[in-house]
C-alpha cells in the first residue's frame, strides 16, 4: 500500500508522515518513507510518501492508494499518481474537489471535515494533519492503538499529546461513520519483535557511536546536516564532542587534529563541502591519520538541486586531493549497510591509517526504512596503535616505518616514547622532511603496499538473484532497493536476472567484478548519474566496457518500474 500526504511547506507534513509510518512499523508492517521537497523553508509544496506491506519493501513506488490533500495544490499535482479506485482525503470546507475538477472518474473522494473537528477541539491548524492520520488508519483498516502510542511518544507535553490523540480518534471515527472501509486486507506481520524506523543518516550516526567515534566536526549542508543534528542532540549521552565548524575546511581540519590526538573522529558533508576538503584529505593520506568522511551526495554541478537526489560524485571522491594515495570508499545501499559500513569505516581507518569515505546519497539519507535492531557484537580494531608499554619496548620508534603491510606503528601525543611530527612534506621513516629520490620512492611504495591488504580485508560485493541470468545488473548505492524490486518484475516476465552491488569502490575489487562480467550474458549498469561513473570505473579497472547503461539524472531516485522499464527497453527484441 502506498500513502501520500501533501501540503504547504511549514505545516508539519514531514513530521506527520513520520508519525504515520512509525505507527505502521509498530503494527508489524514493513515500511519505507520517502520525501520530496523543494529547497524552501516556507511556502513551497511538501509531500511525504509512506509505502507499507507485509512483504519486505526496499524503496518508494510512484502509484499511490491514498492521497491526503491538505491543500488543493496537492490534489491537482498528485491526482495522476493515484491507482484506479484510489482515494483522496480532503476537506470541502477548505476547497472543492470533484471528479470533473480532477478529470478522473476512477478515484474515490473522501470529504473529511477536518477543519470542523479542529474547531471543536479548539486545536491549532497543524493538528489537521493528525485528524487525517486517524482517517487514514480507518481507510486501511489498521488498529488505532499504535498510532495513539506513537503520538504519545512524540510530544513531551501531555496536553498536546492528548489533544492529538483525540484529533486522531475523531478522524478515525468520522471516516468509519461516513464511508465504507475499502481496504481491510492489511494484516499484521507474524512476530511482535520491536523494529526501528530510521534513515540512512540515523544509521550512520548509530554506526559511528557504536564504533566509538567521539568527535564530529561539520558545517551544515543538506542532505548531510541531520548527522550533525542527531549527534549534537545526543552528544552528552554518548560522551561525544560535536562542533559546528566555521567552514568545511575547518571541519575536516578539526577532525584530522582530533584523530591525530587519538580520538575516532569524523566529518560529514555533501559534494560542495567535500570539494573544500580536498587538500586536507591529501594531508590525511600523507600523515597517515585515520579519518572517516561521510559524503552524502546531491545533484550538482554547483548548488544544483539542493534537496534532491543524485549519484554524481563517485568520480570526484575517488580522485579528490592532490597527488596519489590509497583511500577507502564505501557505498552503502540501504539503512542496514549505512550502520555496518559506518562502523567498519572507523576500523578500516585505524587498521590502514588512511582516509575512509562513506559515500551516501540524498535518498538514503532522508528516507526512513523499517528494519530489525542492528547486530552489536562488533569488534573494535584499532590496528597498529601502540599502548604505552609497547612503545617503551621500542628502542628506535619510527612512526613511518617501512613494513610488509605498509601500515606503520602509531603513537599518540602524551605517550613518552612515541614523539614524532606528522609531516605534510614527504619524509623518511621518522617523519623527518627529506627530498631524496630513492627514499621518496620507498615511502610512496610503503603507503601503496596497503592497497592489497585493504582489498583482501573487504567483504565480497553482494550478488543477488539467480546464478544463470538473462540479464546481469551492476550498480552501487541506494539504487539497490529499486533494482531488487525490479528483478521481481523481470522474473514475472520470465527474464532471469542477477545483480552485483559494488559496495566497496576503492580499492576496487577488479577481479571479482571481472569474473562476474565474464560469466554474464547481458550486463546493464544502473546509476543515478549522467555519465555512468561506475560503468566507466569498471572499464578502467577491468577492461570490460559496459555498453548497456541505465542513467537517471533528474534529481529523483529510481522507482522499480523505471528500472524494469529501462532494462526491458535495453534488452529490446532479445
Amino acid at each position: 500500500m502506498n500513502w501520500k500526504l501533501g501540503g504547504e511547506a511549514g505545516f508539519g507534513v514531514l513530521s506527520a508522515g513520520e508519525v504515520f509510518a512509525r505507527s505502521l512499523t509498530r503494527s508489524g508492517l514493513n515500511v519505507f518513507v520517502s520525501d520530496e521537497h523543494p529547497s524552501l523553508v516556507r511556502g513551497g509544496h511538501n509531500t511525504i510518501q509512506v509505502r507499507f506491506s507485509e512483504e519486505e519493501i526496499r524503496c518508494h513506488e510512484r502509484e499511490i492508494d491514498l492521497l491526503i490533500a491538505l491543500d488543493e495544490k496537492t490534489a491537482q499535482l498528485h491526482v495522476g499518481e493515484l491507482k484506479s479506485e484510489g482515494g483522496i482525503i480532503y476537506d470541502s470546507s477548505q476547497f472543492q474537489l470533484s471528479h470533473d475538477i480532477l478529470k478522473r472518474v476512477d478515484v474515490n473522494l473522501y470529504d473529511v471535515s477536518m477543519a470542523e473537528i479542529i474547531k471543536e477541539l479548539k486545536a491549532p491548524i497543524i493538528v489537521r494533519n493528525t485528524v487525517s492520520l486517524g482517517s487514514s488508519i480507518a481507510y486501511f483498516g489498521i488498529e488505532m492503538k499504535n498510532l495513539e502510542s506513537v503520538i504519545k511518544d512524540s510530544f513531551e507535553d501531555e496536553k498536546i499529546s492528548n489533544l492529538n490523540i483525540e484529533a486522531a480518534r475523531r478522524g478515525y471515527e468520522y471516516f468509519k461513520e461516513n464511508f465504507n472501509v475499502i481496504s481491510s486486507s492489511i494484516m499484521k506481520r507474524g512476530d511482535d519483535t520491536p523494529r526501528m524506523l530510521l534513515t540512512g543518516n540515523d544509521a550512520i550516526c548509530l554506526g559511528a557511536i557504536k564504533a566509538g567515534c567521539k568527535f564530529l566536526a561539520a558545517y551544515p549542508m543538506t542532505p548531510a546536516s541531520s548527522i550533525l543534528h542527531y549527534l549534537a542532540a545526543n552528544a552528552e549521552k554518548n560522551n561525544m564532542v560535536t562542533i559546528q565548524s566555521e567552514d568545511e575546511i575547518s571541519a575536516i581540519g578539526n577532525a584530522v587534529g582530533a584523530a591525530f590526538a587519538g580520538v575516532r573522529a569524523m566529518t560529514a558533508t555533501s559534494g560542495g563541502g567535500f570539494a573544500l576538503m580536498g587538500e586536507f584529505i591529501s594531508l590525511t593520506a600523507m600523515t597517515e591519520t585515520p579519518l572517516v568522511i561521510v559524503e552524502v551526495q546531491r545533484p550538482g554541478p554547483s548548488t544544483g538541486l539542493a534537496t534532491r537526489h543524485g549519484q554524481g560524485d563517485l568520480d570526484f571522491v575517488l580522485s579528490a586531493g592532490q597527488g596519489e594515495f590509497p583511500r577507502i570508499v564505501l557505498a552503502p545501499g540501504d539503512v542496514d549497510e549505512c550502520f555496518y559500513f559506518s562502523f567498519d569505516a572507523f576500523n578500516l581507518a585505524e587498521r590502514f591509517q588512511v582516509p575512509v569515505i562513506v559515500l551516501s546519497d540524498k535518498y538514503l539519507s532522508t528516507s526512513h526504512k523499517s528494519t530489525s535492531f542492528f547486530k552489536t557484537d562488533l569488534k573494535i580494531d584499532r590496528g597498529y596503535l601502540l599502548a604505552e608499554d609497547e612503545l617503551e619496548k621500542i628502542e628506535d620508534f619510527k612512526r613511518y616505518e617501512y613494513t610488509e603491510t605498509g601500515v606503520s606503528p602509531r603513537s599518540l601525543p602524551g605517550q613518552r616514547n612515541g614523539i614524532h611530527n606528522a609531516p605534510g612534506n614527504e619524509h623518511d621513516e621518522y617523519g623527518n622532511s627529506m627530498e631524496d629520490a630513492y627514499k621518496t620512492t620507498q615511502i610512496v611504495d610503503k603507503r601503496f603496499r596497503k592497497l592489497s591488504h585493504i582489498l583482501s580485508s573487504f567483504q565480497k560485493p553482494n550478488i543477488f538473484g539467480s546464478k544463470k541470468a538473462d540479464v546481469s545488473i551492476l550498480s552501487w548505492g541506494s539504487t539497490k532497493g529499486a533494482i531488487l524490486e525490479a528483478m521481481n518484475m523481470l522474473d514475472k516476465d520470465n527474464i532471469k536476472s542477477n545483480f552485483l552491488q559494488v559496495t566497496h569502490l576503492s580499492p576496487f575489487p577488479a577481479d571479482f567484478v571481472s569474473e562476474f562480467i565474464q560469466k554474464s550474458q547481458n550486463v546493464v549498469s544502473v546509476e543515478g548519474n549522467k555519465t555512468g561513473q561506475l560503468a566507466n570505473l569498471v572499464a578502467k579497472e577491468t577492461g570490460h566496457m559496459i555498453e548497456m547503461r541505465v542513467s537517471k539524472y533528474d534529481g529523483r531516485p529510481f522507482t522499480p518500474k523505471e528500472v524494469y522499464r529501462d532494462i526491458k527497453a535495453l534488452l529490446g527484441g532479445q
Binding site: I209, K214, N238, G257
Partner: protein, 285 residues
C-alpha cells in the same frame, strides 16, 4: 626537568642566515623549558611557509598541516585531549591571508591554544611576494609598482574577534619574546601573539634596525591590559613608535571548559571497546 637539549632534533633549521625565525625558535624552546612542559605533552601545529618548519626542528609532538589551516587542526587536538598543551604557529600569509577566517573563530570560541604568527610582512618561502601585512607601496614580485592595498592590522582584528589574550613580540628581543610566549601558553583561552620578524632576504624595509628605532614596550608605559578600549587605541599605533607587549588580557571561560562531556576525562582516553547502543536504537522504534 626539561632541558634545551631535549628539544634538539636530528635535523637543523634551514632558514636563511640572520632570519628572525632563529630567535623565535630559540624563544619557543626557552618557554617550553622554563614552563617545564614535558615534550610528550605539547603539540606544535604549523602551516606552510618558512614558519611551517617549526615542528620538524623542535622535538615535541608536531603536526605540519597545510597552508592557513593550523588553527582547525590545533582545535581538534585540543578538544581530543585537553591534557595537552597546544601551540599553533604560522606566518602572515598563513594566518592573515589563507586562514584569516580560522583566526576569527578560534578567537571567538576562546579555545585554549597559543597562536604565534611570525609576521615578516612578506612571503618568504615562495620567494618574495606581497603579504596582507606588507605596507602600502611595498615593491615585490607581485607588486612591481608598489602595493596598492592597505595592510591589515592583526592586533585590531584579534581584538575585534574577541581574543582574550592579545600581544605582539619582536624577534630581535628574545627575552621579552620568551616571556610573551610563556604568557600565551599559560593563558587559559586563546592566546594570540603577533611577532615582528625581519626577513633578511626579501623585506628590505622592515629590518631589525627599522624595528629597533621604533618599538617600545607597552608595560614600560603602564598600559592597562584589562582595558579593551585602550588596547584598541594602542593597536592603531604604527609609525614613529610601534608598541610591543601585552595589549589585552582577559579571563573568560574557554570553549572546552563549557563542554560537560570533557569534565570527566579527555575524549582520547575513553574506553570504546564495547559501547552499548541499545537505548539509542530503542528511540527509533
Amino acid at each position: 626537568m626539561v632541558e634545551l637539549s631535549d628539544l634538539q632534533t636530528a635535523g637543523a633549521p634551514s632558514w636563511c642566515p640572520g632570519c628572525g625565525n632563529y630567535s623565535i625558535w630559540q624563544a619557543i624552546k626557552m618557554a617550553i623549558v622554563e614552563l617545564n612542559i614535558k615534550t610528550k605533552d605539547i603539540v606544535i601545529v604549523s602551516g606552510v611557509g618558512c614558519s611551517g618548519k617549526y615542528p620538524y626542528w623542535i622535538k615535541t609532538y608536531g603536526f605540519h598541516s597545510i597552508h592557513g589551516r593550523t588553527l582547525p587542526v590545533a582545535t581538534g587536538i585540543r578538544l581530543a585531549n585537553q591534557d595537552l598543551k597546544v601551540m599553533a604557529i604560522g606566518g602572515d600569509g598563513d594566518g592573515y591571508s589563507e586562514g584569516t577566517n580560522h583566526l576569527l573563530h578560534a578567537a571567538r570560541r576562546n579555545i585554549d591554544i597559543a597562536y604565534l604568527v611570525c609576521n615578516n610582512q612578506i612571503y618568504g618561502l615562495t620567494t618574495g611576494q606581497v603579504s596582507p601585512t606588507s605596507l602600502r607601496g611595498t615593491k615585490t614580485k607581485t607588486s612591481p609598482s608598489g602595493s596598492i592595498e592597505w595592510s591589515i592590522n592583526p592586533i585590531s582584528i584579534a581584538l575585534a574577534a574577541g581574543t582574550s589574550f592579545v600581544a605582539r613580540g619582536f624577534a630581535g628581543d628574545v627575552r621579552h619574546l620568551t616571556d610573551l610566549i610563556i604568557k600565551a601558553i599559560t593563558h587559559e583561552g586563546f592566546g594570540f601573539l603577533d611577532i615582528l620578524q625581519p626577513c633578511v632576504t626579501f623585506n628590505k624595509v622592515n629590518t631589525y634596525k627599522f624595528f629597533r628605532e621604533r618599538i617600545y614596550k607597552l608595560q614600560d608605559e603602564n598600559h592597562d591590559p584589562g582595558d579593551v578600549i585602550k588596547a584598541y587605541e594602542k593597536s592603531l599605533e604604527w609609525g614613529k613608535r610601534i608598541p610591543i607587549g601585552i595589549f589585552y588580557d582577559e579571563k573568560k571561560p574557554t570553549y572546552e571548559s563549557q563542554i560537560r562531556q570533557l569534565t570527566k576525562s579527555p575524549l582520547s582516553k575513553q574506553n570504546i571497546s564495547d559501547i552499548d547502543i541499545s537505548s539509542s536504537m530503542k528511540k527509533f522504534v
